[in-house]
Amino acid sequence: MTAEAIWRALGTTVHLLVADGHPAIARDAVEATLARVDATYSRFRPDSELSRLHALPGETVRVSDLLVRAIGDALRAAAATDGLVDPTVGRAVRATGYDADFASVPGRVAMAPGLGRGTVPLATPPGPVVRIESVPGWRAVRLDSAARTIKLPHGVELDLGSTGKALAAELAAGAAAERLGPGAGVLVSLGGDIAVSGRTPPGGWQVAVGEDSSADPLDLDEVVSLASGGMATSSTTIRRWRHDGVDVNHIVDPRTGAPAAGPWRTATVVALTCTEANAAATAAIIRGADAPAWLASLGLPSRLVGVDGSVVRLGGWPGPATGTLRPAVAGRRRLAGARPETTTTLSPATPHPERTAA
C-alpha cells in the first residue's frame, strides 16, 4: 500500500510517497529534516548558519556536520561539472534580483543593491541590459571536512539552492526510511528533485516527467519507473522573472555571471544520488550545445527539452512510446486545480483514486 502527503517547505512543494509504512511517521521525519536544512543553509534566513558564515568573511569558522556536508557536496558538484555548478554564484544570483524567497520575487524591477562590476546585454542591443556579478569560483572556498571548518574569502556568498535542495531530499528520504524500518519504502520529491530510500515497490516508483513539478502526474503522458538512485530536473521555464526589463532565470552561468541562455530549457537526469542528478541536470542547462555528448559520456539517463520544445532522450532514458499514458477514466483523476496539502492512502488495486484534502 502506498500513501502520499503533499505540503510546502523550503519555498517549494514537498511530495512524500510511502510504501508499506506509516505516512505520519515518515512525514514527521521529513519535516524534521527539512527544518534542520532550512535552519542550516537557507540563504534567505538571516539566522541560518550559512548566513552567519557569510557574516564572517576571511575567518576560519567551525560549522555543523550538516553544513560541512552541504558545502562539501556543492564543491564536489562543482568539481564534477568543470565548475559549471558553482556554489559561489550567490552574489551573482542575488544581483539578478533573486534575493528573497521566490514567492516574493516575480515581477521585481528594482535594482539590487551593491552591483556594478559589469553589464552584459541579454537582449539584442539597444535592448535592456542586466547588471551582473562576477563569480569568485568554487576553488576560493576553504573547506576542511575533518576539522569541520570553512573559510570564505571576502565577497564570496554561497548559494546552495541547487545541490542543497537535492541533498535535502536525500536526507529526508533516508531519515524517513530509517524511522519506518525494514520493509518500507520512501520517495521524497522537493520541487521535482527526487530521492528514494528503503524498499522499492514492485515495478518501481512511477514518476511523471514534465517541465513543471507542480503539474499533476496524471496530466503527463511520459512516465518512467525509478528503482533506485535519484532523479532531478533543472529548468529555466518556471523560476524566472523580469529584472530591469530583462527576462532572467535562477540558473546562473558561473563563466559569465549571467542567467543561462543556452539551447536547452529543461534537463532531467537520473544518477546514483539525487545530488548528482541535480548537478548533472543544472550543468547540462549551462553547458548548452554539447550537453548531450557530455551526459552520454557519463552514461547518465537524461531527457533534454530544447527551447523549441524538441525532446532528446539519451543514456538509456526510455522512449516515449513505452511509457504509460494517463488514465482515461475521469474518476481516477485527481482533484483539479491547485494541489492542496493532502495526506492520502492509495490502495494497490486502485493506485490513484480521487483524493480528498486531509
Binding site: G192, I194, S214, A280, T324, L346
Partner: protein
C-alpha cells in the same frame, strides 16, 4: 578530497605487448584508486558508501600493488591529491513506466 595516487617502478617493456599490458594494469589500478577515495570516507558522488570501506580500501591497496607490477619492482603510495569526482549512473535505475505517475519531476 583524499584519494590515492599510484606510482609504479620505471619498468621498460621489451615489446609492445608488454607495454599494452602495463598500460592496462595501470588503468585497472587507477580505477581501483577511485574506489579508495570513496573508502576514505567520501560519500555521495559515485564513491563507495562509508559502510565496509575499510575492507574495500585494504583490498584496493593490495590490488594496486599487484596490478602495478610490470615485471620490475612496483611501489604504491597514498597521498592527498585532488581528483575530480565523477557523476555516476546506476544501471537499471530507470525504465519505462508501468503505471500512472505518482509524482512529477520538473522545474520548480
Amino acid at each position: 578530497m583524499d584519494t590515492t595516487r599510484m606510482r609504479t617502478g620505471a619498468a621498460t617493456s621489451p615489446d609492445r605487448r608488454q607495454d599494452r599490458a602495463s598500460i592496462d594494469a595501470r588503468l585497472r589500478a587507477l580505477t581501483i584508486a577511485a574506489a579508495v577515495a570513496g573508502a576514505a570516507g567520501v560519500t555521495g558522488f559515485g564513491f563507495l558508501a562509508a559502510q565496509g570501506t575499510t575492507t574495500a580500501a585494504t583490498a584496493a591497496t593490495e590490488a594496486i600493488v599487484t596490478t602495478g607490477s610490470t615485471g620490475s619492482t612496483a611501489t604504491s603510495e597514498t597521498t592527498a591529491a585532488t581528483a575530480a569526482p565523477v557523476l555516476q549512473a546506476t544501471p537499471g535505475a530507470v525504465a519505462a513506466g508501468s503505471g500512472p505517475g505518482q509524482v512529477t519531476t520538473g522545474g520548480s
